[in-house]
């Protein structure tokens, strides 16, 4: 592989990792709230969180483009107050990957939290533990396999994201081109060997992530 291909691989890998890290605290918080509490509007939040799974990725990308463009309410705010542009930058890739992989993280983490016996958390409280300590020492460790599985699934989803990314970040060589975009572009340009090399890297990365996820989830069942 040439230097440009390696740059694409590394960029895709680190932006996927970064997006997974960024969504992790929010994903865990939402999953925990959905798993442990009933509140008005809960089903709306559940539906909203799952939307990127069922909407066409390009449509999700269009929504993000409107929100994060300079005339969008988030993009306008960031540009005006922090001189930050999101659309057609690596930040746009980050936003697209994060939004598209968020539902997978939330779903896995929610199932994991629901699998933790609430009685253990209650008894921990009678032993003097506050909510934060109960979460960190009981809930999180007991849900950890499912959460790690969700993290890996989210990472794998981010690796393969295409539709939303191209809408929000475009396909700018050396700046926003990810593995999926590069494969598409190589095929379009008739550079099949390059496309297959990138395909092989994609398969290896995705296989490793999904295999780890399956292994962890299977371990949880046993």
């Amino acid at each position: 592989m040439n230097a440009e291909a390696w740059q694409i691989v590394w960029f895709t890998a680190w932006v996927s990792i970064l997006s997974t890290i960024v969504i992790l605290p929010f994903g865990l918080a939402v999953a925990w709230l959905l798993a442990r509490f009933e509140w008005p509007g809960k089903s709306l939040v559940e539906t909203f969180v799952s939307l990127p799974l069922v909407m066409p990725p390009v449509a999700t990308g269009l929504v993000l483009l409107q929100m994060f463009g300079r005339r969008g309410f988030i993009g306008g705010f960031l540009h005006k107050h922090f001189d930050l542009d999101v659309v057609f930058t690596w930040r746009g890739v980050l936003v697209a990957l994060g939004v598209m992989s968020f539902p997978l993280l939330v779903r896995s983490a929610r199932v994991a939290f629901e699998g933790v016996n609430p009685r253990l958390e209650q008894i921990a409280r009678t032993l003097g533990a506050g909510n934060f300590r109960v979460f960190c020492t009981i809930t999180l460790p007991l849900a950890s396999r499912g959460i790690v599985g969700g993290i890996l699934l989210a990472f794998a989803r981010a690796l393969g994201e295409f539709g939303a990314t191209i809408m929000v970040a475009g396909n700018i060589p050396g700046k926003t081109t990810t593995l999926s975009l590069a494969i598409f572009q190589s095929v379009q340009l008739g550079q099949d060997p390059q496309a297959y090399r990138l395909l092989a890297v994609s398969v290896v990365l995705a296989f490793a992530a999904v295999w780890c996820s399956e292994w962890l989830l299977r371990g949880k069942k046993h």
Binding site: N117, Q122, A124, R125, T126, L127, G128, A129, I138, P141
Partner: protein
């Protein structure tokens, strides 16, 4: 023990738990059939459930007063709780389970020190093991020790011998008696085994469908007839 439960109202699946009682004896059994509301009552005292209405006072401290919006959190009640399923933390070792709620030792705390409690319950040799490796009787003693290590003011025991075979019950019962005599703690002891009531308790409250239908000294035999009615 001076535990006052007034105007308790907690809707359960098929009836409403309604209790109005003042408990003064030290070891009191709550006796009744499965589904009578015994565990829910313990949960209320421990602060694990939100009642519709309740006034709960232990000693001088008001733990719950729904009319004034008072509800002391479970972690601040100083009440040890051994639930029926024991709720040992499966990802922690026995030692980590025991130390989870241990209060910093004070001068007068030798009674509730790790060494003393593990000695009384004969579980010193278990501390390095995982809780999943323990037998039923060992788990019971570890759960009891974990609750005691919080230096509780009141101990709630929810059918601590349920699920054990007859031989194991006979082995564990003396440990409960040792805990009663050694630590001199007030205890609420949920059971539906008359033999445990006779062996351990001073008084018995008989519950059915969320209400206390009778109370009497555990030494009298009349309560069992009332319970059967």
């Amino acid at each position: 023990m001076n535990l006052l439960l007034q105007k308790i109202s907690l809707p359960l699946a098929s009836f409403v738990l309604e209790v109005d009682v003042e408990i003064r004896n030290r070891v009191v059994a709550i006796f009744g059939p499965s589904g009578a509301g015994k565990t829910s009552l313990l949960d209320l005292v421990a602060g694990l459930r939100r009642p519709q209405t309740a006034f709960i006072r232990f000693g001088d401290q008001v733990l719950t007063d729904t009319s004034r919006g008072v509800r002391v959190p479970a972690r601040q009640r100083g009440i040890g709780y051994v639930p029926q399923d024991l709720a040992l933390f499966p990802h922690l070792s026995v030692r980590q389970n025991l130390l989870y709620g241990r209060k910093p030792a004070g001068a007068a705390d030798r009674l509730f020190s790790l060494e003393h409690i593990t000695d009384v319950l004969e579980i010193q040799s278990l501390t390095a093991r995982g809780v999943l490796d323990l037998s039923g009787g060992e788990k019971q003693r570890v759960a009891l020790a974990r609750a005691l290590l919080t230096s509780p003011r009141l101990l709630l025991l929810d059918e601590p011998l349920a699920g054990l075979d007859t031989g194991l019950k006979a082995k564990i019962l003396p440990y409960l008696a040792r805990v009663r005599d050694e630590f001199k703690l007030p205890m609420l002891y949920v059971t539906h085994n008359p033999a445990e009531v006779s062996a351990l308790c001073d008084e018995v409250l008989v519950m059915d469908r969320g209400r206390i239908i009778s109370r009497s000294p555990a030494s009298e035999s009349t309560w069992l007839k009332q319970a059967e009615v």
